[in-house]
C-alpha cells in the first residue's frame, strides 16, 4: 500500500518535473518569477492607491471620518467653485516658462556640443541647480527677491535706481513670473543634460559632411540635430508641461503657500486636503489633475507627430542613407 502510493507519488512528481521543464512552461515561469515582484509593487503602491483615491473622491470625508457617499458632487464642486479651477490660470505662467526653458536648454546643449572650451564646467554649473533641494532653493530665492537684497543689490550696481525696481513678490502683475524664473533656473540644466546626451549620439561625420556641402551651424542644427533628437525633445516638452501643471514648491515656499495670487492648482489641492481636511474633494481634484495631464500628453503626442511628420520622414530617409553609406564603406 505504502510502496504503491510512494511509486504513484514518484510517478506524479516525475510527470510534474517533465511538465516543469517543458520550454513553453519554462518561458512562462521565468517571465512570471521576474515580473511578479515589480508587478506586485506597482499594483500595491501605484494602482491600488490610485483606485482608493478615485473611491475617496466619491465621498464626503475627512481623515478621521467618512461623512457619506456623495457621488459626483465633489467633481461638480471643482468646476462650480471658480476659485479652485481658476488656479489653472497660474499654470499658464509655468507653461510659458516651460517653453522658454526648453528653448534655452536646447540652445545651450547645441552650443556646448560644438567645440567649446570648458564644456564640462559649463554643463556642471548649469546642472547644479537641479541637485539643490526644492525647499532649500525656495528659501534662497525668498531672500533673493526680498526688497533691497540680492537681486536689487545687483541691479542697483548696474545703475538702476532702487525706486524704479518693482517689488518682485508683492506686485501681483509680476510675482508669478518671479516664481517661474526660479523653476526655470532649476530645471533648465536637467533638460540641457538630456539634450546634450541625445546630441552626442549624433554621428559627428554628418557635421563634417554637411559643412563640406556648405551647411552653416544653423543648417546643421535644423537638419541634423533637431531631427535626431525629436524623441528626447518630445519627452522633455511633455515632462515640462505636465510638470508646470503640478507646480508646487516655488509658491509653497517662496510666497508662503501660494499667497498673493500665486496659488497653483496643486497648492489648492494641498490646502483642501491638509488645512480644510476635505479629503474627498482633494481626491477629486487629484483625479481631475491626472486626467488633464493625460489629456495634455495625448494632445502633445499628436501635435508632435504632426509637426515632425516632414522632418520625421526626413530623418528616416537620412537614417536609411546612413545605413547604405556605412554598408558601402564596409
Amino acid at each position: 500500500m505504502s510502496s504503491n502510493s510512494g511509486a504513484a507519488a514518484l510517478k506524479e512528481s516525475g510527470s510534474f518535473r517533465a511538465w516543469l521543464i517543458k520550454p513553453n512552461v519554462q518561458k512562462w515561469l521565468v517571465i512570471i518569477t521576474f515580473a511578479i515582484v515589480p508587478v506586485i509593487l506597482l499594483l500595491l503602491f501605484i494602482y491600488y492607491p490610485i483606485g482608493k483615491m478615485v473611491e475617496f473622491s466619491l465621498y464626503n470625508m475627512s481623515y478621521t471620518k467618512v461623512k457619506g457617499f456623495v457621488g459626483l458632487k465633489n467633481y461638480i464642486d471643482i468646476f462650480a467653485k471658480p476659485e479652485l479651477f481658476q488656479t489653472f490660470r497660474v499654470s499658464l505662467y509655468y507653461m510659458v516658462g516651460a517653453i522658454v526653458q526648453i528653448a534655452l536648454a536646447l540652445y545651450f546643449a547645441t552650443i556646448l556640443s560644438f567645440k567649446t572650451k570648458f564644456t564640462g564646467v559649463y554643463k556642471a554649473a548649469m546642472f547644479f541647480p537641479y541637485l539643490v533641494n526644492g525647499i532649500a532653493l525656495g528659501f534662497i530665492f525668498k531672500f533673493f527677491y526680498t526688497r533691497g537684497y540680492v537681486l536689487d543689490t545687483v541691479l542697483t550696481a548696474f545703475g538702476i535706481p532702487l525706486e524704479s525696481l518693482p517689488y518682485w513678490l508683492r506686485d501681483q502683475s509680476i510675482n508669478n513670473w518671479s516664481l517661474v524664473a526660479t523653476s526655470l533656473w532649476k530645471y533648465m540644466g536637467q533638460n540641457m543634460v538630456l539634450f546634450s546626451g541625445a546630441i552626442m549620439s549624433v554621428d559627428p561625420t554628418l557635421y563634417e559632411a554637411a559643412s563640406i556641402d556648405g551647411a552653416n551651424k544653423w543648417h546643421q542644427f535644423r537638419y541634423i540635430i533637431l531631427p535626431s533628437i525629436s524623441t528626447v525633445l518630445t519627452l522633455n516638452v511633455i515632462l515640462s508641461i505636465t510638470g508646470s501643471l503640478s507646480a508646487f514648491e516655488p509658491p509653497y515656499v517662496i510666497t508662503s503657500m501660494g499667497g498673493n495670487g500665486t496659488a497653483t492648482y496643486f497648492i489648492k489641492m494641498h490646502e483642501t486636503a491638509h488645512t480644510l481636511h476635505k479629503v474627498g474633494l482633494a481626491s477629486a481634484m487629484a483625479v481631475v489633475l491626472i486626467t488633464i495631464i493625460i489629456l495634455c500628453t495625448i494632445i502633445q503626442k499628436l501635435v508632435f507627430k504632426y509637426a515632425f511628420r516632414n522632418s520625421g520622414t526626413d530623418s528616416a530617409k537620412t537614417k536609411m542613407k546612413r545605413k547604405q553609406f556605412s554598408k558601402g564603406v564596409n
Binding site: S62, K142, F143, Y145, T146, R147, Y149, Y167, L169, R170, Q172, N175, T255, S256, M257, G259, N260, G261, E271, T275, L276, H277, K278
Partner: protein, 450 residues
C-alpha cells in the same frame, strides 16, 4: 524611517518589559490633600517627564527647576525628555505603551478618554476657586490636567517707539490704534505694525482676538457657530468686523512693512527689540522671545498691551487660555504616581514656572508677571467648551466654510492684507463674502441660526 523604526523598537521593548506592571492607583493622594515640603519628603521614586519645551531643556532651565525640586525631595529622581514634535509624538507614546513615563503635557486626547490615561487630581468643584484654567482638561467634573501656564492674547509693542510717537495712553479702540500707528509712521522711522504676513500662521493668529471684540465667554465654541452673519459691519468698533478691519485699514494706509511678502519671522525679534518695529499682533507667549531676542539691545523696551478693541459692554478683554496641562500616568504603580503628583504640585506652587514664562499664574493668588502691568482694567476672558453634542461642530463649520477660524485659516487673513494693499476689494465686500460662506456652511450642516 530610521527614527520611526527606533521608536517602534523602543516601544516594543518597553511594552514587553512592563506588560506585567499593573496599576494599583488606590492610595495616590489628591492634588490638594497634602502639603509641599512636609508630606512625602522621604518618598523614593524615579519619574520621567516628557515636555514640549525643548528650548528650556537645551538652555538648562529645566535642570535648574529639577535641582530646586530635589532640594526638598532629594529621593525623587526626575528624568526629563524634551520632544520637538510633541503634539504627534506624545500621542504615539501615550497610546503605544503603558509606561511612557510619568508626567506629560496632555496632547489631543478626547476629554472622555482622559481617565483611561491620566490620574485624577480632584474634583472641579473643589479646585476651580483655587486655580485658573483648571477646567481645561476635565471630564464629568473630575480634573485630569493642571495647566503649566496660561497665555493671554494682546499686542507686543515697543515702549520707546510709542513714547517717541507721543502716545501717552495705550489705544483702546480700533480708531485710537490706527491713529497711534499713523503717529508712529509720521514721527519715527519704525514700521508701525509688522504683519509677519509671510510666516502664515502669524496671520491666522488674528482669529484668537475675536472673543475680545464681543466679550462673551460662550463665543468661540458656541454662539459664534450659531450666529447669523457674524462678520457684519459694526460702527462702534466692536465685533469680529472691527478686529479684521484694523488689519485692512493699517494696510490700506501704508502703516505696515514695505514689502509684506518677504517678512522674516526670526528677523522680526531683534527688530522690535531695537525699536525698528512699533508693534506686532501676537500672543503673550511671544513676549519673552521678543524680549530675549539674539541681537536685541533694548529688552526693557519690549512691552505687552491689550488688543485695542472694546466689547459692547464697554470693557476691554484679553482672550486667554491654558497652555499644555500636566497629566500623570495612571498606569504605573502608586509610589510613582504619588511622586509625580508631588512634582506637579511643586511645579505649580514653588517653581515660578508660569511667572518666568510670562504667563498668567495657575494658582489664583500667584503673581502676574510685569508684562501684564498695562492690563489693569482689562479682564482675562476664557472661552467655554462647546455645548454637549457639539464637540465637533466648530471643526465641521470651519471645513465647510473654508474659513478655518482658530484653526490654521491663514490664507483668508493674508487676503485681507492683499486686498487692503491692492485696493481691489473693499473691506465690507470681504466680510460679506465671509458671511456668505458662513451662512452656506450653516445651511448645509443644518445648524440652528439664533
Amino acid at each position: 524611517m530610521k527614527r520611526f523604526l527606533g521608536i517602534l523598537l523602543s516601544l516594543l521593548l518597553v511594552c514587553s518589559a512592563f506588560s506585567f506592571a499593573s496599576a494599583e492607583g488606590a492610595d495616590v493622594p489628591a492634588f490638594d490633600s497634602f502639603e509641599l515640603g512636609k508630606d512625602y519628603t522621604d518618598l523614593t521614586a524615579k519619574i520621567k517627564w516628557l515636555t514640549h519645551r525643548t528650548d528650556l531643556v537645551d538652555n538648562g532651565a529645566i535642570t535648574q527647576y529639577v535641582a530646586e525640586f530635589n532640594k526638598v525631595y532629594p529621593n525623587i529622581t526626575v528624568e526629563v525628555e524634551g520632544i520637538t514634535d510633541f503634539a504627534q509624538e506624545s500621542l504615539i507614546r501615550l497610546t503605544g505603551s503603558d509606561d511612557w513615563g510619568d508626567v506629560m503635557g496632555i496632547p489631543a486626547v478626547e476629554l472622555s478618554e482622559l481617565s483611561t490615561y491620566f490620574a485624577p487630581y480632584g474634583t472641579l468643584e473643589a479646585m476651580k476657586d483655587t486655580y485658573n484654567f483648571i477646567d481645561n482638561k476635565q471630564f464629568e467634573g473630575v480634573v485630569y490636567g493642571v495647566p503649566t501656564t496660561g497665555n493671554a492674547n494682546g499686542i507686543v509693542y515697543n515702549k520707546a517707539v510709542f513714547a517717541a510717537a507721543g502716545i501717552t495712553e495705550l489705544p483702546k479702540t480700533p480708531d485710537q490704534f490706527i491713529a497711534a500707528l499713523q503717529a508712529i509712521k509720521d514721527k519715527t522711522d519704525a514700521i508701525p505694525l509688522y504683519t509677519n504676513y509671510a510666516a502664515g500662521w502669524t496671520m491666522g493668529a488674528w482669529d484668537s482676538y475675536l472673543p475680545a471684540s464681543v466679550g462673551d465667554a460662550d463665543f468661540s465654541n458656541n454662539n459664534f457657530l450659531h450666529a447669523k452673519d457674524p462678520f457684519s459691519a459694526t460702527t462702534d468698533g466692536t465685533g469680529p468686523y472691527a478686529v479684521y478691519k484694523i488689519l485692512y485699514d493699517a494696510t490700506a494706509k501704508g502703516l505696515i512693512e514695505d514689502d509684506y511678502t518677504t517678512t522674516d519671522w526670526e528677523g522680526c525679534k531683534p527688530m522690535i527689540n531695537n525699536g525698528q518695529i512699533g508693534c506686532m499682533v501676537l500672543g503673550s507667549w511671544a513676549f519673552s522671545q521678543m524680549r530675549d531676542a539674539v541681537g536685541g539691545e533694548h529688552p526693557e523696551d519690549v512691552g505687552y498691551m491689550p488688543f485695542p478693541v472694546t466689547a459692547p459692554d464697554g470693557k476691554q478683554y484679553a482672550p486667554s487660555g491654558a497652555d499644555y496641562c500636566y497629566g500623570i500616568n495612571c498606569k504605573v504603580d502608586a509610589s510613582r504616581q504619588t511622586a509625580a503628583m508631588v512634582f506637579v504640585k511643586w511645579m505649580t506652587y514653588e517653581s515660578n514656572f508660569a511667572y518666568n514664562e510670562g504667563g498668567i499664574p495657575i494658582v489664583k493668588t500667584g503673581n502676574y508677571p510685569d508684562l501684564y502691568s498695562s492690563f489693569g482694567d482689562c479682564d482675562f476672558l476664557v472661552q467655554n467648551v462647546a455645548a454637549e453634542g457639539e464637540d465637533s461642530l466648530k471643526d465641521e463649520m470651519n471645513a465647510e466654510s473654508t474659513l478655518m477660524i482658530d484653526n490654521g485659516g491663514n490664507e483668508k487673513v493674508q487676503k485681507i492684507v492683499e486686498h487692503g494693499f491692492n485696493g481691489d476689494m473693499s473691506f465690507d465686500d470681504i466680510m460679506n463674502s465671509w458671511n456668505e460662506l458662513w451662512s452656506d456652511a450653516q445651511e448645509s450642516l443644518g445648524v440652528a441660526v439664533r
